[in-house]
């Protein structure tokens, strides 16, 4: 009887805790969305100051020049991200080292070499 009461109390507490976590998560997510909205709405105003020379030279480079700088961001990004993911996936493909432990003849050779300590 006591055990079942304790178990029910634990379950009730867990449910309350889960509900609290859900509410907190929703609150954090809502706050994050609000922050993102504020940042989006004020983005263009924050560009008012900056390096005059950079701004002028980019502005003077014409439509094509400005587009090239914007596209350049993607040109830098895409290969780097692709290669990063490719190397990680290569590691995952070889997740289990298949190479057997070299034994026998090679070990005998290395036993001789091992006398050359780096000390």
């Amino acid at each position: 009887m006591l055990a079942s009461t304790v178990a029910e109390s634990i379950v009730a507490r867990r449910q309350t805790a889960a509900k609290t976590v859900r509410i907190l998560s929703l609150g954090v997510a809502g706050f994050a969305v609000l922050c993102a909205l504020v940042v989006v709405l004020t983005a263009s105003r924050t560009a008012a100051q900056g390096c005059a020379q950079c701004y002028q030279s980019a502005a003077a480079s014409g439509v094509a020049g400005r587009a090239a700088l914007r596209h350049g961001i993607l040109i830098l990004l895409v290969p780097a991200i692709s290669l990063f993911l490719a190397i990680l996936s290569l590691l995952c493909r070889r997740r289990n080292p298949a190479r057997p432990a070299p034994v026998g003849k090679f070990s005998e050779r290395m036993a001789g070499a091992s006398s050359n300590s780096v000390r």
């Binding site: 940042v39 950079c54 995952c92 070889r94």
Partner: protein, 593 residues
């Protein structure tokens, strides 16, 4: 090029010939010797880098003082900027990149994965020698007419691209700087290829991905970052060199008038250099700090006698930080006048790095929670790393906002932020690694009392330098100014500069305890056993220091995860990776070490 130097070792073994001292210690292909060479190179570099920073701090407080090492006695603003440039360059490239990755990674990666050596040992030797040449070429900028360059470690054009007309140091000094960095890039690229190949191909049997120590994961992700980031810096450096010597205009805009003369360049964009540089520059921050994260995770588990809390989450966080590191370089350019919607994107991506960083921090705390903590010197430095990482990370959140960054960008606030999070945190990771693996590398332990003295003086000293620096920045203290006496509102910040300078000298003096401890312990330190910290990873399965083939002719097989501490059923409170338990030790599985 042969990828197997053991062939020459085998010949030596058969003939009984012992390689000469040059072959063993200078032009060695042994990853351990190369790791030590990198370590001593970075030790020399950090000594010079700290000396330069003390010169800067001294000048900021006593600008009219005569200094013995300065041409003319009193430091000019240009000489101050040369110190700024060379301090940043030496510390970023030859200390923060070289020590955690190239030195400790080279020494320990093959040992921790159960390999005999790196995949391409001769390439490895070439990487070191290129790095040494790069260091000497960069330093030689001090010796040429005009002295070292004044364009900062970021070498922004047009200042860095026009030649000596733009100021002292921008002639031969800047050319040597570019040459040094290009050589360094080649060395780093070769090193990265080696790290990636070794980790993928040379792991011992049983060393699956979830059994890799977090240090190995960190070095692996860092190697990918190095490979991709230094390639872009190399390309940018070539273009900058062409602007200087071949009359091209990749980064030089039209209509520039310097010293009253209209320059003949035209059509280039300084913004392009900024994109190329910071595409390297931001991953460089993670190249400096990720190995430290791996080291700290490794050390915390050892001295908490607990498995790393959330191992898989730690690995994912490392990979996420590495990946996101390539997406955020634009936050260094919020004031460059780039498209405001690009700034917005970079801002949100920058803030998102806080998620994996927080995962790592909470997992470190989770590892410590309830552990049997042992406050050995490496553990103290690992805890110091976490403290600085969190402090510097929190100040970074503000800089990730374009609106706030606009006013803080050119101030000491940024200097304080990146010194704490990138410089000092990474250096605490290096110190932790040095104290932790010194017994493995040299067969002796470092002195604990001196180590703890070194930790507390440095820890307090660093906060004494950089916490006031935040306030100087918020109050409008402008960075890179050699003399603040010209503006009344800057003069009122001078007492804080005096305090920071005194703290800097005391902190630098505290490093003498480290140097004394290091060199004294090489000869006089207490002899260390093979596994003095009761640790679990494979490097502790071999002698201290390890033999030339790492495992004395035997090849370890891995049976378990890397951080098996305090297991209820284990006979002792740690279970090394290479020891089979009764149920998984059939002889057919291979020889264990």
């Amino acid at each position: 090029m042969s990828s197997n130097p053991s062939a020459s070792s085998a010949v030596e073994a058969r003939s009984g010939a012992r390689p000469g001292i040059f072959r063993r210690y200078v032009f060695s292909t042994d990853h351990k010797i190369i790791g030590l060479q990198y370590f001593f190179l970075s030790l020399a570099a950090v000594t010079i880098g700290v000396f330069l920073s003390l010169g800067m701090r001294f000048h900021l407080v006593w600008p009219a003082a005569r200094l013995p090492f300065v041409t003319g006695g009193i430091m000019t603003p240009e000489q101050y900027l040369a110190l700024v440039t060379m301090h940043g360059t030496i510390m970023v490239f030859f200390v923060l990149t070289t020590a955690p990755q190239s030195a400790f990674g080279n020494y320990l990666l093959p040992l921790q994965i159960g390999a005999r050596d790196m995949a391409f040992p001769r390439l490895n030797m070439l990487s070191f020698w290129l790095t040494l040449v790069a260091f000497l070429v960069t330093l030689s900028a001090f010796l040429v007419p005009g002295g070292a360059p004044i364009s900062g470690w970021t070498a922004y054009p047009p200042l860095s691209g026009m030649g000596e007309i733009t100021g002292p140091g921008e002639g031969a000094g800047q050319s040597l700087w570019i040459a040094g960095i290009l050589i360094f890039c080649v060395g780093s690229l070769l090193g990265s290829i080696n790290f990636i190949s070794t980790t993928i191909d040379l792991r011992a049997p049983g060393m699956t991905l979830t059994r890799l120590p977090l240090t190995v994961w960190a070095w692996f992700v860092t190697a990918i970052l190095s490979l991709l980031a230094f390639a872009v810096l190399f390309a940018g450096g070539i273009l900058l060199a062409l602007d200087r010597v071949a009359g091209t205009s990749f980064f030089l805009p039209a209509g520039l008038v310097v010293s009253g003369e209209l320059q003949m360049h035209g059509g280039g964009s300084p913004l392009l250099w900024q994109h190329l540089f910071w595409f390297f520059g931001h991953p460089e921050v993670y190249i400096a700090i990720l190995p430290g994260m791996g080291v700290v995770s490794h050390i915390l588990a050892n001295f908490s006698r607990k498995p790393v809390f959330g191992y898989r989450a730690m690995v994912l966080a490392l990979c996420a930080i590495g990946l996101l590191g390539f997406l955020v370089w634009g936050h260094h350019m919020f004031v460059s006048g780039m498209n405001p919607y690009s700034s917005l994107t970079f801002s949100i991506l920058t803030l998102s790095i806080g998620v994996p960083s927080a995962v790592k921090t909470f997992n470190w705390l989770g590892t410590l929670w309830g552990g049997k903590l042992q406050f050995q010197t490496p553990m103290l430095f690992a805890l110091g790393f976490i403290s600085f990482f969190v402090t510097g990370g929190l100040s970074g959140i503000f800089l990730a906002q374009p609106a706030l960054d606009t006013s803080l960008h050119a101030t000491y606030y940024v200097v304080a932020h990146f010194h704490i999070v990138m410089g000092v945190a990474a250096i605490f990771g290096i110190f932790a690694a040095t104290y932790y693996w010194f017994p493995k590398m040299f067969g002796r332990k470092m002195n604990k009392t001196l180590g703890q003295l070194h930790f507390w003086l440095t820890f307090a000293g660093v906060y004494a330098i950089f916490m006031p620096m935040h306030f100087v920045g918020i109050a409008g203290g402008i960075r890179r100014y050699a003399d603040a006496s010209g503006a009344s509102y800057l003069v009122s910040l001078q007492p804080l500069h005096v305090f920071m300078t005194i703290a800097a000298f005391i902190t630098a003096a505290a490093q003498l305890a480290f140097f004394y401890n290091f060199f004294w312990s090489l000869r006089q330190g207490e002899p260390a056993s093979a596994n003095p910290w009761d640790a679990t990873s494979l490097e502790w399965a071999t002698a201290s220091p390890p033999p030339s083939d790492n495992f004395a002719g035997q090849f370890p097989r891995v049976y378990r995860a890397p951080y098996e501490y305090s297991l209820p059923a284990a006979p002792q409170d740690f279970f090394p990776q290479h020891l089979p338990s009764e149920q998984d030790a059939p002889s057919s599985k291979g020889r264990s070490c």
